[in-house]
């Protein structure tokens, strides 16, 4: 993975830059010792590491503004960081950059149940947003699987999704407004609790811009009343095609489950060996969850059962109680851990049209043979968001490169069938060089023009999202 050569002039001015940062922040908010900077050398894409020039941990919007102003004046790149859980390298620094971490900005500013929003500082973790409104019977819908650790700032940067977005949408559909600090230190408000822009939808393009347009310090989030209850069923099939057809029929029937999860045989076997959830040994397995009162759940599951049985499943398992419901989810929730027990793995995130599912799984199986690497598939089947897990051995020379090449081929396949490179993890550095597979030069040019407006010097998270060749002229000013 190439990163641009660091600006040696910036590195040479480290002492002066750090002194200027110390002048605008409390003493404990600036980190410049190499051993402490190791904590910021990577995010959850741990294969790539580089300690930053310095790291800052501001507590207020005013402090963020002051930091950015200093870096803007000094020409120092800034890499915003939420909780560092990005799987795409979105928060990976370069040696000439300052990491701006929002972890200390985790307060709830306002909760308003009548108008159904919460306003938080952006370093607050996803799960603790729901936690703050739970007692009143509300929740925050987007639920990425890292929700215990990941910050709202990172969710907004990557437009994060989750298992339940089939019904509730992703971050952009639940984000009402933000306080944004531009690279030059300007503080502005986009959107607001009323949730509709008066002019251009700038909030809509900030969400998912991977920290390249500004630093979000505060956010208004939509909160929803919690459903009365939820219950899953498990359905096993002896063919991926039939499982795919079943998903399609459920969707066409107008039933809107909150989640439809799909696991293939390699993944089922790995999780059985690890978690012993009692899953059937079959080609494809669906976990379908519906919400509502007991009677409403029964009504929906009755219809789902009718549709599923028409596809001759090897198993249709209902949950009679909470304990059985947990067992249905157990294997799915253990899937990543189970694969990790077997070997190192790389988790992909492409999206495909649901109709292409059988073809894509067949091709991935063939490619697995060609590359000599095993792969298991976990999949948000309702929306086509795939998570192939490619197993490799990080200690074996050449294995990581082979795994990355295999991953790239899978993502190209996703684009070929009409899908995209990333459904919820973001581009970061991981998929940066594949962008040209999905976008023509003028499509990327249009996106980069947005960054030109928000960050004309290209100092915010500059070496991400766009292929280095495409962004070179802008980054080098």
């Amino acid at each position: 993975m190439d990163m641009p050569a660091p600006d040696l002039g910036v590195i040479a001015r480290k002492a002066r830059i750090v002194a200027r940062l110390r002048a605008v922040l409390p003493p404990d908010a600036v980190i410049d010792a190499l051993e402490e900077l190791r904590a910021y050398e990577c995010d959850a894409l741990t294969a790539y590491r580089c300690p930053p020039l310095a790291a800052v941990l501001p507590r207020t919007t005013a402090e963020v503004s002051a930091v950015l102003r200093v870096c803007w004046e000094e020409g120092v790149p800034v890499v915003p960081r939420g909780s560092g859980t990005s799987l795409a390298g979105g928060a990976m620094p370069t040696a000439d950059s300052v990491i701006l971490g929002v972890a200390r900005m985790n307060a709830v500013i306002e909760t308003d149940y009548e108008n159904r929003f919460i306003r938080v500082q952006s370093g607050r973790t996803n799960l603790s947003v729901s936690g703050a409104v739970e007692a009143e019977g509300f929740f925050y819908a987007p639920d990425p699987s890292s929700q215990l650790a990941c910050a709202i700032a990172g969710n907004i940067a990557m437009n994060s999704g989750g298992a339940h977005c089939l019904k509730y949408g992703v971050t952009t559909n639940n984000l009402l407004g933000v306080t944004l600090v531009k690279m030059d230190g300007t503080v502005l408000t986009l959107g607001g609790p009323w949730g509709e822009p008066s002019g251009l939808d700038l909030l809509g393009v900030v969400c998912g811009s991977e920290g390249q347009l500004g630093v979000v310090t505060e956010a208004w989030l939509r909160i929803l009343p919690k459903p009365e209850g939820a219950r899953p069923v498990l359905v096993g099939f002896n063919s991926n095609e039939v499982a795919g057809a079943c998903v399609s029929d459920i969707i066409k029937a107008g039933i809107l489950p909150v989640a439809i999860e799909f696991m293939d045989r390699p993944c089922i076997r790995a999780t059985e060996a690890f978690a012993k959830a009692g899953y059937p040994d079959c080609e494809a397995l669906l976990i379908i969850e519906v919400e509502g009162s007991d009677a409403e759940i029964a009504e929906q599951l009755g219809r789902i059962k009718q549709i599923a049985l028409a596809h001759d499943p090897v198993e249709f398992r209902e949950a009679a109680d909470e304990d059985q419901a947990k067992r249905i989810w157990l294997g799915r929730k253990s899937a990543f851990g189970a694969m990790g027990q077997i070997n190192d793995y790389m988790c992909l995130d492409g999206t495909i049209p649901v109709s292409s599912l059988p073809f894509v799984l067949k091709r991935i199986g063939e490619m697995s043979q060609e590359f000599g690497l095993d792969v298991g598939n976990v999949f948000h089947a309702g929306d086509g968001n795939m998570h192939p897990l490619i197993l490799f051995n990080a200690n074996k020379p050449g294995d990581l490169e082979r795994c990355e090449a295999f991953g790239a081929e899978i993502l190209k396949l996703c684009v070929e069938v009409g899908g995209c490179l990333t459904g919820e993890h973001g581009v970061g550095i991981e998929k940066r060089d594949l962008m040209a597979v999905q976008f023509a030069p003028q499509d990327m040019e249009a996106q980069m023009r947005v960054k030109d407006v928000f960050d004309p010097k290209w100092l915010l998270n500059p070496a991400k999202v766009f292929p280095l060749g495409a962004s070179a002229g802008r980054r080098e000013g």
Partner: protein, 360 residues
């Protein structure tokens, strides 16, 4: 100009020097833009429809009615309930799907499923230089690159001329019913809407006009009946229930703002916080149709009240003059936000030819 292919559209934009007034059917155009009319109605037809994946890709000039007909054939629909503004604005013409996206036009179901921009998953457009750009695609989960789909939705043609749009569509539910609550004053009637939206009963419409509050639920038959019972008990008041076609007719009135059609005066569209909606209306003393759980107010006022409207919503929303003469149509934005918007317009339309004068 009325191009019939995307290539012709690109040529038309690239080849012109003068300002262009971009429009679909002209049924919901706002603002004071002037120029040679560039119509997208020639770019018509469905590119791809996959009911099993809830995906529709359609050329921007396709009539809304045609889109709805195609979807209805598979018992599906656009989730966000396209408003028909012809009655309110006194317009003729054929509303196009591109115009709907360009206006981010969203009806009562926005409280449950989001706005047009939330259902829109892909665009193709021609920018002000005549370059064709695509963004998003046909899958509903996609975070690859910047989300220009959201930026284009509601941009009213000032960043580019839409040539194709993609949607996540929705199955038509088995049943719908509306609680009609009478005998409550505005304060209590609006509080009932907020209470309904704060309940776990998945309300898909919450509106008030002519002294009645309306709360809609949709879904499977048994579930709708259950939620009607629960909401009736929760909300109190004098409740009657409209089902099926009778319910749908009520929501068409809200969606198209029928109560304010053909009345003398100006119509403002106010976006604000539900809890201050009653106060805003009381202060301005106009006839109101409240939608989105009172986060949206359609307000009929005598001409020339712009300054008072702006003062009433300052710091807690914004207002657009949708029907009236003179004065600014769109709310003024904070200078630093307006500067970003102007910067984007200059990048996407360097010659300033697309709907110049619209949106401030």
């Amino acid at each position: 100009m009325r191009p019939v292919t995307e290539a012709e559209l690109a040529e038309a934009v690239a080849g012109t020097s003068g300002p262009l007034l971009v429009r679909g059917g002209g049924t919901r155009t706002l603002g004071h833009a002037v120029g040679e009319v560039l119509e997208t109605g020639g770019l018509s037809g469905v590119e791809l429809y996959e009911p099993g994946a809830l995906t529709l890709v359609v050329r921007a000039g396709t009539p809304v009615a045609e889109v709805q007909r195609v979807l209805a054939g598979e018992r599906q629909r656009l989730a966000f309930e396209v408003p028909d503004m012809r009655g309110l604005l006194g317009r003729e013409g054929v509303s196009t799907i591109g115009g709907v996206v360009a206006a981010n036009a969203s009806g009562p179901r926005r409280v449950q499923v989001g706005a047009c921009r939330d259902a829109c998953i892909g665009v193709r457009f021609v920018d002000g230089s005549g370059t064709v750009v695509q963004n998003g695609g046909r899958v509903m989960k996609n975070v690859t690159g910047y989300d220009l789909v959201k930026l284009l939705a509601g941009s009213r043609g000032v960043l580019g001329v839409l040539s194709e749009v993609s949607f996540k569509v929705q199955a038509v539910p088995e049943a719908e019913a509306t609680l009609v609550i009478e005998g409550l004053g505005d304060e209590a009637g609006l509080a009932a809407l907020r209470s309904a939206l704060g309940s776990p009963f998945d309300v898909s419409g919450a509106a008030r006009y002519s002294g009645r509050s309306l709360v809609r639920v949709e879904g499977m038959t048994g579930s709708v009946a259950y939620r009607v019972r629960e909401l009736t008990a929760r909300l109190g008041g004098d409740v009657t229930v409209a089902e099926g076609a009778a319910s749908a007719a009520l929501w068409r009135e809200v969606r198209d703002v029928v109560p304010l059609q053909r009345k003398a005066g100006e119509v403002w569209r106010v976006s604000t916080l539900p809890t201050v909606a009653a106060e805003v209306v009381a202060r301005l003393e106009g006839e109101a149709v409240w939608d989105w759980g009172c986060g949206l107010i359609w307000l009929l006022l005598p001409p020339g009240r712009g300054a008072e409207v702006a003062a009433a919503v300052a710091g807690r929303g914004h207002a657009t003059l949708v029907k009236g003469q003179g004065g600014p149509v769109f709310s003024t934005e904070a200078p630093e936000v307006a500067a970003l918007a102007a910067g984007l317009r200059a990048k996407f339309d360097p010659r300033g030819i697309l709907n110049a004068g619209m949106m401030g």
